[in-house]
Structure formats: structure tokens, C-alpha cells
């Protein structure tokens, strides 16, 4: 599924070179649920951006579903992001002044899916994250937790190979965080591959594997013995708490 070999990312600011990633090897198999942890500045976001094909490594090989994407550029990366990757951002990154359902339709728009099918699938995705009654709301009419669930719906609507989330609960209170984790656990149970970045150990406990970063290197890689089960109050309780 995901295979990284000697991934380096070096930022050059004038004469000063910062190695955000100093040679990372990582393998993530299909259906895994991984948490990436580590102190601030250890290269987690850099890693996620490379995994999500938003950024390219300075050096190294990145095989996604067997194809090397490390050397891909521009429009090729756009296509890979569109087809294979569902990315969830800490800051939600929804289009403002645009209805939830239209936000969720967006990746299908660029995939060339027809208008009717787009709408049906977007509504289904929003229903699956418990927002079936909020499809015509605009981002600023939704709570943080609801916005993040719209973002999740947008990430999974295209059935991507992997779902990536950089601090998906970073802006949420503990209750909304747990709701979001419950959705991830359910997607994982359905066989999706999920990688999240988090600072919070109790969020990482919802996953099945924890990869620890320090100074651009992998410091530890362990299996979570007994993953906690997230309480999914929200599912079935349409709309969720305000």
C-alpha cells in the first residue's frame, strides 16, 4: 500500500538548510489505522504532506499502490490526490460561502463525475458522518465538529485508497474529537486505510499503531495493544450536539 524508502525533505532558507525529514523508511499496509506522534517540529506535517502528494520529497522513493509518486509533478499529483487520497486538514479547509453538500461534491467535480451522481454520493457521504440534515448549511453555520465531519465526508466520498488526517482533532473539544475518532474507527472497520497525526496520547489510543517522530526520523513504531473504542454518540442522533 504505502512504501517509503529513505525519504528526505530539506528546506533551504538561504544558506541555512533545515532537514525536516532526514531519511524515513515506513511501510503501511492495507487496512491499517496509524497514528503519527511526536514533538512540535519533528516533521509530522511534512511527512503527511508528502504522503498526501501535496508536497514532493527532496530525496527518496514513495510507492503508493505500487507506483512511484515521488517524482510526479503538477497535474499528475493533482490526479493522484483526486483518485487515491482523502486528505483531512486541521483547519477543515472547506470553501466558505459554499453549502456542505457542494463542498463534498468538489473532488468528484474534478474527477469528472456527472452532476446527478455527485449529488447522490455527496448526500450519502454526509449521511454516513451524521450530517444528513445539514447538507444545505454553509461552513460558518456549522460547529467545528460538524465542519470537520463535512471535511471527512469530502475526503471519503471518492473511495480513496488512503485517508490522511493532519491533526483532525486539533481544533476540537474532547467530545467532538471522540465523535470524529468514532467515524475513523467505523471507516477502519469497513477496511479503509487511515493515517492521522496527533499530539494527544488519548487520541492515539483509538488507533492500532503509533509511529513516533523526532527530529525528522522515526523514533518508535509500536502496536496499540487494546485500542479504545470511541463513543459514537453522534451516529444515529442526526445533526449531533451544537
Amino acid at each position: 500500500m504505502i512504501n517509503l524508502k529513505g525519504i528526505k525533505k530539506i528546506y533551504a532558507n538561504g544558506d541555512i538548510k533545515v532537514a525536516a525529514l532526514g531519511g524515513v523508511d515506513l511501510h503501511v499496509g492495507e487496512g491499517e489505522f496509524v497514528a503519527i506522534m511526536g514533538p512540535s517540529g519533528s516533521g509530522k506535517s511534512t511527512m503527511m504532506n508528502i504522503l498526501g502528494c501535496l508536497d514532493t520529497p527532496t530525496e527518496g522513493e514513495y510507492f503508493l499502490d505500487g507506483t512511484d509518486v515521488a517524482k510526479a509533478t503538477g497535474d499528475d499529483l493533482s490526479v493522484i490526490r483526486n483518485r487515491k487520497i482523502g486528505f483531512i486538514f486541521q483547519g477543515f479547509n472547506l470553501l466558505p460561502r459554499t453549502m456542505a453538500v457542494e463542498n463534498v461534491e468538489l473532488p468528484m467535480l474534478y474527477a469528472g463525475t456527472g452532476g446527478k451522481e455527485r449529488r447522490t454520493r455527496a448526500i450519502a457521504a454526509l449521511e454516513s458522518v451524521g450530517l444528513g440534515e445539514r447538507i444545505h448549511h454553509r461552513p460558518k453555520e456549522l460547529s467545528g465538529g460538524q465542519q470537520q465531519r463535512v471535511a471527512i465526508a469530502r475526503a471519503l466520498v471518492t473511495n480513496p485508497s488512503i485517508i490522511l488526517a493532519d491533526e483532525p482533532t486539533g481544533n476540537l473539544d474532547s467530545r467532538s474529537s471522540e465523535e470524529v475518532m468514532a467515524i475513523f474507527q467505523r471507516l477502519h472497520a469497513q477496511g479503509n486505510t487511515i493515517i492521522i497525526v496527533t499530539h494527544e496520547p488519548d487520541i492515539a489510543e483509538f488507533t492500532e499503531r503509533i509511529v513516533r517522530f523526532r527530529d525528522g526520523h522515526i523514533e518508535g513504531d509500536e502496536i496499540v495493544k487494546n485500542p479504545r473504542k470511541a463513543q459514537a454518540q453522534v451516529i444515529g442522533e442526526e445533526g449531533g450536539p451544537e
Binding site: G74, S78, F89, N93, L95, L106, Y110, A111
Partner: protein, 405 residues
């Protein structure tokens, strides 16, 4: 993403920011409206001057006293008038010359029991109708005898009849009208020619020149002598023979300048047209510059818009938009703004020039080519000035765009 979807996305973005979209369009609207109106008015002026000059008669030569021109006041011929009825009789009808008619004109108040009007009065002779291509609809034309006897008779244009009696076809033959309090008997009515403007034969009274000189002007002045050449080819010969005749009649010595001027209708037409065409081009050029400024306005706003929507661009790219999708979105926005602005501008320009035409009482002509050109031009402006901002947007790196605050 297909083209239709791109258009929909662009239209939504424009609608989301209505005020800014309309203000951006304003530059193009004003530019296009100005081009259309200016060219329309210019063309109208050219056409109306052309028809006025052509309406003066066919193969026309106009003889006037040179002083009338050098003095700058064409009416002040008075004491220095160099044309007389003697000159008229010297110019003989022949192979090159079809008809000769003197003109002494004034404008006057015309009164009949049923109404009054003010119109221009032309004192002339029988041949005037031939030169002007005017036919008599009812009654008769003035005759040589009328001229010799200074008869107080008048031939009316149809507009004059309508103004006096309220009906073009009213029976006015034989009635007595008062022109500046001098009684005249109506002997004929001319056929409508449809010509407008100052030399319209529809809104005019013709009478024997001798009567007009004696009763209305009080001087034996001949303002112009109109000569109709038998054909266009013979105009030069006619002109030369008139010049020779008049130089001899006025006893002008060899080497001295003429004290009269013979003007050729074609020359007048050419001179006037070149003036109005230059004017049209000048006005159109100035309006074109404002169109250019409008285009730069579009580029300016689009650049601001691209910067402002950097995050949006980042989001779109992050979830799979290609460079071309983003490029098209912004390019279409620019083109829609300019085309919409162009359309509104054409409508406004058309309205404006029609109004101006009404005010100046001339037919403004908006040609299809000028509409097509303005439309094409505004679309081109949208593309030219939209490409730069759109390319800037398309070239953005998703990671940098998402980090943009």
C-alpha cells in the same frame, strides 16, 4: 472537469461577489458604450452631411461671391456682392450646362388665417426645380413671366402646407399668405422629397427672385448661382466655361484672382466626409482608450481576487483540481465580466447614440460590424487581461496556497 462545469463554477464565484463584479464591469461598460456611441454619432454625422450635400441637387456647381468666404460672414454680402442677375443671364444653357438658377434667400414668418410658421424663403427662377430635382405636386411652378413681372406668387413645400393648414393635402392653391406681412398668392405645392436638414426642399417656399429682392430683402442681391451640369463628366467643362464667362463679365484682368468661387458638389462632399471621418476616428480612438483602461481594471481586480482566494485555490488543488481547471475558472470569470460588460455597453451605447441622434436630429447608424467589433474586442480584453491573473492562480503550489493566511 468539463467546460460547462467550469463556467458554472465561475458564474457562482461572480455571483458571490456581486458588487465587485458589477464595479469591475463598469469600466468595460463605459468603454464599449463610448466606442459604440461615438462611432454611431460619427457615422450619423457623415451620413447626414452626405445626404444634405447630395440633396442639394445633381451635378451641382455652386457659384458664390469670393467676399462671402473671405469675410467669413456668408450673409454679409451686401455692398461687396459680386453676383448679379446680369451674371445669371450671361451663363447660358448649352451642351455642358443644363440649367442655371440664381438664389436670394432669407427666412421669414409666414401667416395664413389658419396658422403660421417660420421657414426659409428662396427667391429664384423656374430652373431651380430642375436643379433641385423637385417636382410640382399640385398647381404650377414659377415662370419666367412671374420673374419678369415681380409677381407676388409662391410655391410651397409640403411641410409648410402642413404647418399652415394642419394637413399636407389641404387645398391651399390660390390662397393668399403673408410672408413678413407681404401678401403672396400660393400657386403650387412641391412633391415631398423626404430630405431633412437646412436645405430641405420640403420645408421651404420658393418665389420669383425679383419679388424677394424687392419686397423682402430690399437689395438686388444674388447670394448664389446654382448651375446643373448636363452630366458628371461635363462638370469640369461647365466649371471652366462659367469661370471664363464670369471673369469676362466682371472684367478681371489676366493674373488677378477671381472675385467669385465655383464649387463642385463632389469636392464639397469629399472635404466634409474627410472631416467627419477623421472626427469619428478620433472619437472612437479616445473611447477605445477608455476600453483599454476598463480591461486593465479587470486585470487589476482579477489579480486582487486571485490573491484573496489563494486559500480557495489551495483547497481546490489539494482535492484534485489541475492547473487547467483553475486557469479556466479565473479566465472564464474575466471573460464573462468583459462580455457581459460589453453587452450592456453595446445596449447603452446604442441608446446613447440614438438619443444624441434625436437631439441633433440626424440618423445615427450603428453598424453590425461596430457591434461585432466591440463585442469581440471586449471578449479579447477579457482573455488578454484575464490570462495573466489566471495563470498566476493556476501556477500556485497547493501547499503554499494552503499555508497562505
Amino acid at each position: 472537469m468539463n467546460f460547462l462545469e467550469s463556467i458554472r463554477v465561475s458564474l457562482r464565484a461572480l455571483r458571490a461577489n456581486k458588487l465587485r463584479s458589477s464595479l469591475t464591469m463598469l469600466g468595460i461598460i463605459i468603454g464599449v458604450a463610448a466606442v459604440i456611441a461615438m462611432v454611431g454619432i460619427g457615422n450619423g454625422a457623415t451620413a447626414s452631411i452626405t445626404s444634405q450635400i447630395q440633396g442639394m441637387g445633381s451635378n451641382l456647381l455652386t457659384i458664390s461671391s469670393a467676399q462671402a468666404f473671405s469675410g467669413g460672414v456668408s450673409g454679409g454680402a451686401g455692398s461687396s456682392a459680386s453676383l448679379s442677375m446680369t451674371d445669371v443671364s450671361k451663363i447660358e444653357v448649352g451642351t455642358a450646362i443644363k440649367a442655371v438658377a440664381p438664389v436670394a434667400n432669407t427666412s421669414a414668418q409666414v401667416v395664413l388665417a389658419s396658422g403660421n410658421t417660420s421657414t426659409s424663403i428662396t427667391g429664384t427662377t423656374e430652373d431651380y426645380a430642375i436643379i433641385k430635382n423637385v417636382t410640382i405636386a399640385r398647381g404650377r411652378n414659377i415662370t419666367e413671366q412671374d420673374v419678369n413681372s415681380s409677381a407676388r406668387v409662391a410655391v410651397l413645400g409640403p411641410t409648410v402646407v402642413e404647418n399652415l393648414m394642419g394637413d399636407v393635402n389641404a387645398d391651399i392653391i390660390g390662397k393668399n399668405i403673408k410672408i413678413n406681412n407681404v401678401p403672396f398668392q400660393v400657386i403650387g405645392v412641391t412633391t415631398a422629397t423626404g430630405s431633412t436638414g437646412m436645405s430641405s426642399s420640403d420645408d421651404m417656399i420658393t418665389a420669383p427672385i425679383t419679388t424677394i429682392q424687392a419686397r423682402l430683402i430690399g437689395k438686388k442681391t444674388v447670394r448664389n448661382i446654382l448651375v446643373s451640369a448636363t452630366s458628371e463628366d461635363l462638370m469640369q467643362i461647365a466649371q471652366d466655361s462659367i469661370t471664363a464667362t464670369l471673369r469676362k463679365a466682371h472684367k478681371i484682368q489676366e493674373g488677378k484672382d477671381d472675385d467669385f468661387r465655383v464649387q463642385n458638389q463632389a469636392d464639397m462632399l469629399e472635404a466634409m466626409q474627410s472631416v467627419t471621418q477623421t472626427l469619428t476616428m478620433l472619437l472612437g480612438g479616445i473611447a477605445g482608450i477608455s476600453l483599454l483602461v476598463g480591461g486593465i481594471g479587470i486585470m487589476n481586480i482579477m489579480l486582487v481576487s486571485v490573491t484573496e482566494r489563494t486559500r480557495e485555490i489551495g483547497i481546490r488543488k489539494a482535492i484534485g483540481a489541475k492547473g487547467m481547471d483553475i486557469l479556466l475558472q479565473f479566465l472564464i470569470e474575466a471573460v464573462v465580466l468583459s462580455i457581459l460588460g460589453g453587452g450592456i455597453g453595446i445596449a447603452l451605447g446604442y441608446g446613447g447614440s440614438t438619443l444624441a441622434g434625436k437631439a441633433l436630429s440626424m440618423d445615427t447608424s450603428i453598424s453590425l460590424t461596430s457591434v461585432a467589433m466591440a463585442f469581440g474586442f471586449s471578449a479579447a480584453i477579457g482573455i488578454i487581461f484575464g490570462v495573466f491573473p489566471a495563470r498566476k492562480a493556476a501556477a500556485m503550489d497547493p501547499i503554499d496556497a494552503l499555508r497562505f493566511e
